[in-house]
Assembly symmetry: C2
Homo-oligomer: 204 residues x 2
DNA sequence: CGCGGAAGCTAGCAGTCGTTTGTTTGCCGC
DNA sequence: GCGGCAAACAAACGACTGCTAGCTTCCGCG
């Protein structure tokens, strides 16, 4: 069990990952130097490299648990029964709840995606990202099939609307001077409104 | 008329701005060095500074025309008459059309917003960004008032859904392996679907 | 013809970046 | 008490960053 998978007993490594996660979320991946991370950990710059191969690997260890969890949640919704529209609603709620719990990861994925998709070490994260999109497509297709979702929709466009809306609603970076919605409304009311927005739209 | 405002006769300066715009859009602001820009212009690194005070000023000259144009379009819609829901639809169409015409600027604003909002020279762009959000809020408020938009909506949330959806639908960076929607559907069909998504939602 | 000014070149500064190498420390099991 | 080993230190590497100062080239205008 010395493989790449093990979790218990939060090692030093894990502490560093948490610290780096917050730094990346605050200042962005590119703008956060390995020296910044080291300093925040009470380490010298070189010492990071007894825990990680590279800066990119730190990023991977930040994002990977979240993105696997994300597709797991989506798959769970698909595995359960129900009509398409109801599954879609359930999926939105679970994803919103999960993302709200992982604001830092969301922020990093949102703004530093070019770094993620560009790095060779990180294409596993790109695969996860595409899986997420495919799972959204699947709920939508089911909903169209059983007649509970609008047949005229463009699924690729709808998926982008869904994911962009969820990210945008939870983002605190771009709307810095504006209210933090998840705090202002509470998580349940927020999820309700995201569902309403995406499934019912803005008209009466 | 030697002030900061003048346009005609595309000077060398303007050519450089266009080249820099495309580089920023491809690789991001931080990842594009002044040497990259100079090389793409057939210049040596230092020569840029006989045209610009700083790298940030180049960014400003890229974004400013677009963002002023954006709020102008929005204001034009508000100045015209009509019910709230119809104005909202008109605003969406005009913003989508404008943004589709300025994919590079959108991409830069989207991914490099932290650099924009962080730089001292660039807070004019932040002001424009907030104006845009306020103008969206105004259409929504009118629509609620005249009963054409859902009174239960959370306007701040709706604004984020709108802007995020427009950005997400036009983005080619995050969905690199996926179809380019504006090419696949054509601009009119794309705008139709964005309007439908935002005002009618995904349900039947 | 001469000159002013824009545009570009040359060379380099001062700093930061991610990373590497070699060494030292301190703890755990034997 | 001693070997082993992970964690951390110390010091630096080469490359790259935005930017500056001073010089040259050249075109248009008087």
């Amino acid at each position: 069990m010395t493989s790449t998978e093990q979790a218990r007993a939060p090692s030093r490594r894990d502490e560093i990952v948490v610290i780096a996660k917050n730094l990346f979320a605050e200042k962005g991946y590119a703008a956060t130097s390995t020296r910044d991370i080291a300093e925040a950990c009470g380490l010298l710059p070189g010492s990071l490299y007894s825990h990680f191969r590279s800066k990119a690997q730190i990023l991977e260890m930040i994002i990977a648990p979240f993105s696997t969890r994300l597709v797991d949640e989506q798959r769970a919704v698909l595995a359960a029964g129900g009509r398409g529209a109801d599954r879609l609603e359930a999926m939105i709620r679970r994803v919103v709840a999960l993302c709200a719990d992982h604001a830092a990861e969301i922020r990093i994925l949102h703004y530093d995606w070019p770094h993620v998709s560009g790095a060779d070490d990180l294409h596993a994260l790109v695969v996860h990202g595409n899986e997420t999109l495919d799972l959204w497509l699947q709920v939508l297709a089911q909903g169209v099939e059983d007649g509970s979702l609008r047949a005229t929709m463009q699924p690729e466009l709808a998926v982008r609307a869904i994911t962009s809306t969820i990210h945008g609603v939870l983002d605190r970076q771009r709307y810095g001077t504006r209210p933090d919605l998840s705090r202002a409304l509470g998580l349940d009311a927020l999820a309700d409104e995201v569902v309403a927005q995406l499934t019912r739209g803005l008209r009466v």
